[in-house]
Symmetry: C2
Amino acid sequence: MPQGIKVPTPTLERLATYFTVLSDMRTRHVDTISSADIEERTGINAAQFRKDLSYFGEFGRPGIGYKVDDLYARIGRILKLEKTQPVILVGAGNLGSALVGYPALRAENFQIVAAFDNNYNKIGKQLWDLTIHDISSIIEENGSLGAKIAIIAVPAQAAQDVAEMLVKAGIKNILNFAPAVLRLPPDVIVRNVDFVQELAVLSFHLPAN
Amino acid sequence: MPQGIKVPTPTLERLATYFTVLSDMRTRHVDTISSADIEERTGINAAQFRKDLSYFGEFGRPGIGYKVDDLYARIGRILKLEKTQPVILVGAGNLGSALVGYPALRAENFQIVAAFDNNYNKIGKQLWDLTIHDISSIIEENGSLGAKIAIIAVPAQAAQDVAEMLVKAGIKNILNFAPAVLRLPPDVIVRNVDFVQELAVLSFHLPAN
């Protein structure tokens, strides 16, 4: 990527979508794809796809299309998915457990390497193949783990405190599942996944009755 | 809302965020808020907040602000969250189980009323207080349930088939957790929650090493 060019977040989101599609095509031994194939598979139009790639240099060949393996590898490098990325989980409840057991995470090189909670009934117990650690030890633990991404899966009222602990532990990339708005330093990147918000948008579109 | 005005999706997403904040303020017995309070709590600037509300008429009073209860009730009506909304779940795995047990859903009036799966080892078993039904009975079952919103929490390769069954069962509002792009008729509204995509966007922002 040329220095100094800021890639828009929607472009990054679409790159992740292309990566998922390419991953699927690789498992089905598809060799080449066109931007029209991408449009058909994703609903993202072919011109948008080409524009998204154009931030990162030259891809594909006119009239031939894109080699699936090459494009997969290049997008993987852009998104830094080419090697396993350690991820910390805070919140060993039902959702946290589902995330540790979620096969698609590991398939795309994210590995939850440690789980933390503040509940003394959970600390020391197992969550799948992980031992649940005391959240108060996170700075020390992450000193050796070196994770740079964390997932927050705690109740809303605990999320801000947890996020601040994560920042102190050197983590500046947070995926937040708690239905809470986190206030953090500007260099911390937070992506929120709010199921209730998503359902509320669907609900708005329901017919009146 | 005036007839014929299309509300932008980001406005709807922000309305859901305001609703969450107002819900929290109500439990803390806050009486009145200003758009500056909203900005402080959400990071959404005060002018944007007022613009979002302006799609739906007059709110608040200059110099006084907004009554928390009134604003909560009005946004609830706009998003059709003022009464319990039945929701169907397809996929009784770890994620589906976490969703049924997720307290924030019920707190905002979404209730998962039925769970479906295609795995004969799961059908007939319990998922929390629900009995898991055979996915092939969904049209019949939803004839009596009348749910208009469904959640897909199945593996990617099963998601398209499930989505088509849901549409046949009369459901046109789908929250999709499967990392798959669904192709459905244009009157079906799909919201995708893709954990891996969110992690990939965070991963992009990691420092190179």
